[in-house]
Symmetry: C2
Subunit: 777 residues, 2 copies
Amino acid sequence: MQKDILKSTLVIITILMFSCQNNENKESSNNLEDYAKFVDPMIGTAKMGHTYPGATVPFGSVQLSPDTDTIPYAVNGRYNPDVYKYCAGYQYEDSTIVGFSHTHFSGTGHSDLGDFLIMPTTGDLKLNPGTQANPDSGYRSRFSHKNEQASPGYYSVLLDDYNIKAEMTATTRVGMHQYTFNKNEKTHIILDLMSGIYNYDDKNVWTFVRVENDTLVTGYRQTNGWARTRRVYFAMSFNKPIINYGRARYDKQPYNGFWGRFNQSENFPEIAGEKIRMYFDFDLKKEEKLQIKFALSPVSSKGALANMKKETPNWNFEEVHKNAKLAWNKELNKIQIKSDDTEEKTNFYTAMYHAFLGPTEYMDTDNNYTGLDMNTHQAENFTNYTSFSLWDTYRALHPLFNILQPERNSDMIASMIAHQEQSVHAMLPIWSHYANENWCMIGYHSVSVIADAIVKGNTNFNTDKALDACVQTARTRYFDGIRYYMDMGYVPEDKNGASVSKTLEYAYDDWAIAQAAKKLGKEAIYNEFIERSKNYKNVFDAKSGFMRPKLSDGSFKENFDPLNTHGQGFIEGNSWNYSLYVPHDPTGMIKLMGGNERFTTYLDSLFTMELPDKYFEHTEDISREGIIGNYVHGNEPSHHVAYLYNWTNTPWKSQDKIRMILDEKYKTGADGLSGNDDFGQMSAWYIFSSLGFYPVAPGSVDYALGSPSISNAVINLDNGNTFQITAKNQSAKNVYVEKVELNGKVLKRPFITHDVLMSGGNLIFYMSEKPNLKLYK
Amino acid sequence: MQKDILKSTLVIITILMFSCQNNENKESSNNLEDYAKFVDPMIGTAKMGHTYPGATVPFGSVQLSPDTDTIPYAVNGRYNPDVYKYCAGYQYEDSTIVGFSHTHFSGTGHSDLGDFLIMPTTGDLKLNPGTQANPDSGYRSRFSHKNEQASPGYYSVLLDDYNIKAEMTATTRVGMHQYTFNKNEKTHIILDLMSGIYNYDDKNVWTFVRVENDTLVTGYRQTNGWARTRRVYFAMSFNKPIINYGRARYDKQPYNGFWGRFNQSENFPEIAGEKIRMYFDFDLKKEEKLQIKFALSPVSSKGALANMKKETPNWNFEEVHKNAKLAWNKELNKIQIKSDDTEEKTNFYTAMYHAFLGPTEYMDTDNNYTGLDMNTHQAENFTNYTSFSLWDTYRALHPLFNILQPERNSDMIASMIAHQEQSVHAMLPIWSHYANENWCMIGYHSVSVIADAIVKGNTNFNTDKALDACVQTARTRYFDGIRYYMDMGYVPEDKNGASVSKTLEYAYDDWAIAQAAKKLGKEAIYNEFIERSKNYKNVFDAKSGFMRPKLSDGSFKENFDPLNTHGQGFIEGNSWNYSLYVPHDPTGMIKLMGGNERFTTYLDSLFTMELPDKYFEHTEDISREGIIGNYVHGNEPSHHVAYLYNWTNTPWKSQDKIRMILDEKYKTGADGLSGNDDFGQMSAWYIFSSLGFYPVAPGSVDYALGSPSISNAVINLDNGNTFQITAKNQSAKNVYVEKVELNGKVLKRPFITHDVLMSGGNLIFYMSEKPNLKLYK
């Protein structure tokens, strides 16, 4: 009893403290909590998180961020494995910064972008970036993390070699730089138009630049990389006049013709070629600030200039920064958690931040954008998005958007439908960015995103078109083994590699299409695809107890090793993990795998067995940091796995696994992420799981319950409702759920549904140190 | 007397015959004479005429024409002089055709284009063009001229190797092909996206193609050639379904990534890369006709498709051909000549045809076009044109347009003003094509074209903007020695080569600006530029009697050879010819050169002296065929020279020279032209001179009179007036003018003015075997 009083007192004190803190945190004008201050953009910048620390706004087109190296994709024609570290341009361990470029993917496992690298320098002009080993050989500069600051919408660093303070902020389409020069030396801005991320020798296809006047430069760059035909247009404006400028070319110039009449190297305003670096000189006094507005457009330099004028009409760095921070706080306030654990808040709000970095807006302020057909299109009644890392993000990120970003998610689907209409394959995106399909990874998971939205009623898009697009995509016979899958019920390994992964993922995707069809009353489509969704059974080998590659003659592959990630019919995973990939029918899968008990043992083994390095050491997306036993959290295929105990009679085993993963795989610090953040998917897993639920099968309205790590959270829904989650008796030890109450009623199954959540309400977990073996019964 | 009766009878018979012929010639529906049948597009296709024989409409964007070879611009990094023969893709002496491409310059002395080469083949697929020496090594075919037909808007040839009859016609933006296959073999259409004119190794920057469905292909090609950043978009439609297709790539593919998942070589609808050839297979019966519509756009493939739908809604080759022919006859009827000399009619109407081949329309049917800034612009209230070969065409072609094509000429100027507004240099075009300035040749002769139109009152464009653009251009200090010219009154040879040619041409251009300023009442501009126009005097060396290169210290160049074309301060001409380049002030020039008598002797010598080959043998634009004595007619700088006697007291010496040039330098037959036709300038000289007058100084309203070779011509002016020219007592011997009557009054000076011409009227030359020494006195 006394104990209870003590506890109550503590609660009151905590609430009072929290209120105080709130007042302190409020963004005065908007009544928002300042959660931005808990966001640490450095998380994930070390090792393989592949996040970037630079300045951007939520879903912004511009990601203005430092690149610490720009090593080539290949050396002497051979892939350079070190390039993988630089998917986002920045590696925490590095000691030099090459410059600040305007486009970055967050957390991807392959890459592109890094457009328009800007570097301020002083003294003798160097146009070569130099090397980390010998920074003085080029324009790059040493820096140290102690002089670095990163927060939502803002990044700054001191460039030691030049004693220049570099600051950056952004709007959706404009990156704003501010450089404070602390020397009385000649000052240069380098614009390196050859620099890029995943930079092949011949990646630069064409560069076109015009120095329009002494403060304005426009142009575009076309690259042939992950995206084959990618053009990014820009307009760059300075707040001080250029006093001198020039360019160097590093390409062959097959024809120079009548251009020989000019000295094109200096102060010649028309610049074009494959490989170009430029410099702009300024006459600045010590401590004077040089500002640059750098606007992007997918359409034209005219579009970029219009974007600049609309989004940054003034030379007010602080205002742009303030607005960027405000934009972030608006998004971050969609979930308000209460915690006196700063690390928890940091992890949570950084996850929220990472989850809202993409897909990114991809259109001008006049709604024009470039489509897959390279024609200019106008987005009618939607915002066009790009950079769909769908093999990752269909799992939890888009389901999270259906809760927190319903309007954007609908627009993303409208963008996918537009993509499908423009696609010469008439296919929905697989992995698309910047008006290009890069075909990365497997499946056709757009259909999952679409089905999830349809089933959940978040459909501010043409649902008939959407379903047609799904069906059309799933019937594209020439795509990645689909002809075999359609004809034989599985992808035969001798016809098409990674055949089991493909069969399993197609089967899930087909189930998703069936769910959408059912919701829309399209019976024939439902029947076709619900039938296809059972195809997962065709690759199950009862003898070995694993999903196993099957050949076109119907026999299973010999010499099968379910532990090995390589050459076993799977992609970025082994059979041990991938055999569990039947998110749409765990019950059927459990039956197939020998029933409840055998299945539970299988899961237990997965989390506890030893997986030697050799089984995954050349799989870039899997690293030791992301592994627990043989369970791979650092990559996506198993993200639903910890929740599968819910389908057995041991849901408490999900609870401790989830808490273990939350605890071990998400940490603060630059090396806090255990694998690629994958454009927010890893973060979305964290957000869902830390709140106590997870969308095991997008396309279903059910969320599986786990074990929340957060004690108190309020989800502020766009529809005005709030959904409150409380974990009573929460502690690091109390990872088991004793009881769950939804709106005051005890839950008898380990699920809540989407409509319950969106209606607002109260979910209370009662936590305990010990598992409740009778929970949900 | 009897003789006279005989003559009268002959005249009557001739008139009767002519009337008969007229009826036969009439295009039934339009009351037009069928002058198209006199046009021989083969004229100029041999040697250095650089014309093309293919199908096009007047000023059409598409020039669909056979390319007989596509040899590289450079071999082992060194310029291949043979490439010069192929400026228009076709050489009459060749025995093979590589294929039919869609864009060609007419008569230029440097080149580009040759986009989208199509070749029909049968049998085994060959994707390599092969060589002339060994045609069987590739897809090219042998042909012979006896199976070839070329007429305005139509070209056909039998491709011997495949027994395919190839026919082509065109609208403004669409080339239409018709292939009749005479074998029962597998049939292919090759689309060679690497082929081009003046093809450097790395000219192809990017190619993007989509096979949209089984009859439609779209895409674009970007090249880096004479135009540095040139993209041409296309849409290609077949009248039969493609049954199979594929592509081969000849470029390095730095990154193939996830594309490895597909067989991209066959039936894969998305094609992109630097160097690509494609094939399309069809299932055709013997004698079946395969038709292709190939539409171009400067903006987008969407634009190309819209152009196709608008201009060729049906699959009716004959109708397109009929319309093309009609369009030509409408233009050709602007001057109706009467002659029973078929050769004369052939020369005259072929000259008219060549004069109306360019500049070419450069915008979509929705008036959108790509500007110099690579942005999409809309032509508001004008038709946008491109391909301005101004160093050539300012002389006589644009003046001819002010008479025959006033609306188009005004629109061409509107296009030049738009160019100037888009130019990062804020300069009017020098030699511009396809949204690029190629800077070919010297001067800033746009100002001449503009001034000529302003002075002649043909100003359906903003004259204030136009004059500002002229002034801005002429003051561009960093352009080609202008800073010296402005500061020192001449271009010093030690600072900038071809300095005399530049000084002389700038001086003329400046005079033209002054004339425009005067007409518009801008006194300050007039004063500035009339002063500059006297600069020609600064490079006259009284000692040698020649225009001579001056150095920056004010001394004349030593070791001066006025005969040599090379390294003497001139471009494409020697001092003997170029010293006469003061078209705006012949009187001042004559005075400078020692007065009437010495000047007349100078001119006489020019036409009679011997010029050894060594003085011009490496000057591509000058060949023996174009020379009379030391007078070079085959290139432009002397085009006004034969008329200069008009400023002496021996105008009759102009008359016989002009008739000699008309007779010797313009012939029928493929080798009929004595030099590059230069986008119609050579032809315009012929048209003017054969009618008896010539615009010595565009920007003046005066036309100098010569000696007409045509006996009877009617100019049908757009304003409804007609101007009739009659040469009485005309014959090959009667080259001298006895008397000239304008509207019944004897002319006392060897000039008529533009307004007189445009008012309609009657100009009668009385011809004689002997010079009238008292003419015009």
